[in-house]
Amino acid sequence: MKLKKKIPVIDQGNSLGFWGGKFGGNFVPETLKKPIEDLEVLFNKLKKDKKFISERDKYFQNWVGAPTRFIKLESLTNYIGGAQIWSKVVSDANGGAHKIYNATVHCLLAKRSGKKIICGDTGAGYAGKMLSMAAKKFGLKCKIFMGAKDIARQQPNVKAMKKNGAEVIPVYSGSQTLVDAVSECMRFWVANCDTTAMCVGSTVGPAVFVRICGWSTSQISRELKGQLIDEFGSIPKKLKLYNCVGGGSSSFGFWNEFMDYDKKQVEFIGVEAGGPAKSKKHAAPLTYGSKIGILHGAAQYVNQNSDGQIEETESISAGLDYPGISPLHCFLKDTKRARYTAASDEEALSAYKLVTKFEDLRPSLEPSHAFFVALKEAKKLSNDTVVVINSCGDAYKDRGILEERLGKKYVKSN
């Protein structure tokens, strides 16, 4: 299995949509074949269309807000005493997380295809919140599927969705988390694909959704590349990019523009959710050696039992609480371009405490996983190493959990 240079990774799949010949694909009910093909044709055309790209860039610039900040975390760097620690503050983006990129592009595509309704899944509530914002902006009706457990633990985002006029549909099946929300959203699309567009909230699902999402979030690394050159004059000789990995959309977008660099120069580190330290359950299929299986239309490493039933996951972070992982990351893992590891609930919380103690930055529980591993490793690295963590979400949505686990003083009221 080989990663090709000079070809975008999203376009390295074969004719059936498999990366490395075995990850991804389109394991979908017959009914979805046609709408997926239509979306593929549209996307393949538009991603080469200069007018469409400038339209996208216009919205990214003026509405999403580009670029998001790239800042040095001076106090943390001093405290840790190893590598330089930087952050790409993607939570600056309109709505407070990277999910806005994919949501915006899907709404632009939906408009072009003449659809009036868009449906989407959400875990942490960011994908849903951003889709509700973009749908409102582009005049589409919006339906969001969300696990009942996530609705309870991510209330601020649920309120935001409703305020934007989206219908939030609770999903009570299975573990009542993201995996069930995606299933229910796909079912809704099966029954309504003639009138409704679907947005999958991460780089998961049938191949075209993986590609659209990765194409959209790549804005992050496009910005970062320019910012690194502005700051250092060139891409640093030792650069390490840390990102949490749920479905894998923020991490893929954070890395994409650096794909062709030697990994000795630009290393990618993906941090999955290890779950509670005491629990056997986790959401880290790459770290803990899960087998390849099919979930939500794509072949990927996925937590499952020997019969092929998908296993329940557990994580403090609703956004990472997913048993599978993008085919793109399976491909990056098996080609050894990226390295994957996990942080536990407790470790993520400790990193959140440390970051908020030293910096004016409030990463949500998802990026707190990445901060944990980055800070641990930065300690052992020389100060000419540039460590960058994608702070891809804001902790406002997690205030309930943070208050419960860490006490009131860690929760700001805004």
């Binding site: 017959e30 074949k33 046609k34 299933s183 029954a191």
Partner: protein
């Protein structure tokens, strides 16, 4: 030897009626009960579809999901499902059985192992909901070598060009999904419209059997009589749930329901 599925269609045709296909989930609400249900309906039904329950079923509505979760909760494994089929075949050797499920379970079992097990247990056909054409080409070939029908699904969204290709490559039986819906949806298009689409498919190759499924109940089945076969699934799963909730015997109630369905298409 002719596949018992084809024999069943022939028999129905001589009786001037569509074949009746039922769908029940293996292990719902227990291994024994699901076997007893199969036995109780085998006289009225022509072909038995046995659902392989999966916990991430992206094409199933709430009734079949409920049945599947119930079965999984009781601990049903693939190996048990093969045993149910084998035990059923001891009871009624000639009644065709089709397993219907999702690809991951076959993939984990191993395609070849799975087919070998199907063969030795007496499975006559397979429907794999999320393995569409052309992704299913290789697997369908393997099925053919074992004389197991791989049943292609067709939908109202399937383009004419695609229909022709699929039918050309298909085994003797195909399955037309009546409308844009998961299983168990309310019939939202008229039987006339469904039959129009059905006839469009039949015209491509009249020799291939085409059954219609999704949304069919005892209320609507009579209006679709001109098809080669009709599948009733969610309505049966719903009856199992209703029976359990009202502390009645699902085996008796499902038996009654299937007899009723049969009477409507005679």
């Amino acid at each position: 030897m002719l596949n018992p599925i084809s024999v069943a269609f022939k028999k129905a045709r001589t009786e001037n009626r569509p074949a009746l296909l039922t769908y029940t989930v293996a292990g719902d609400s227990s291994k024994k009960q699901s076997l007893d249900i199969l036995k109780s309906i085998s006289k009225s039904a022509d072909i038995l579809e046995v659902g392989v329950p999966h916990n991430t079923p992206v094409a199933d509505g709430s009734q079949i999901q409920t049945s599947a979760y119930r079965a999984i909760k009781k601990g049903i494994k693939i190996i048990d499902i093969f045993k149910i089929v084998r035990d059923f075949k001891k009871f009624d050797k000639s009644k065709p059985i089709i397993l219907m499920g999702y690809y991951n379970m076959i993939f984990q079992y191993g395609e070849n192992n799975f087919l070998n097990k199907c063969k030795t247990s007496g499975v006559n056909g397979l429907i794999v909901v999320d393995l569409p054409w052309p992704e299913n080409k290789d697997f369908a070939k393997k099925c053919k070598k074992k004389s197991i029908y791989f049943i292609q699904l067709l939908s109202p969204t399937t383009t004419s060009k695609r229909l022709r290709k699929i039918i050309q490559n298909s085994h003797p039986m195909n399955y037309f999904i009546s409308m844009l819906s998961t299983t168990g949806g309310k019939l939202k298009v008229s039987p006339r419209e469904i039959l129009k689409n059905y006839n469009r498919i039949k015209k491509i190759n009249p020799k291939k059997e085409v059954v219609i499924g999704f949304g069919i109940t005892d209320k609507t089945i009579g209006k679709l009589k001109s098809a080669d076969g009709l599948v009733v699934g969610s309505a049966i799963c719903k009856e199992i749930t209703r029976s359990l909730n009202s502390r009645q015997n699902p085996v008796i109630n499902v038996g009654k329901l299937v007899r009723k369905l049969k009477n409507k298409i005679k």
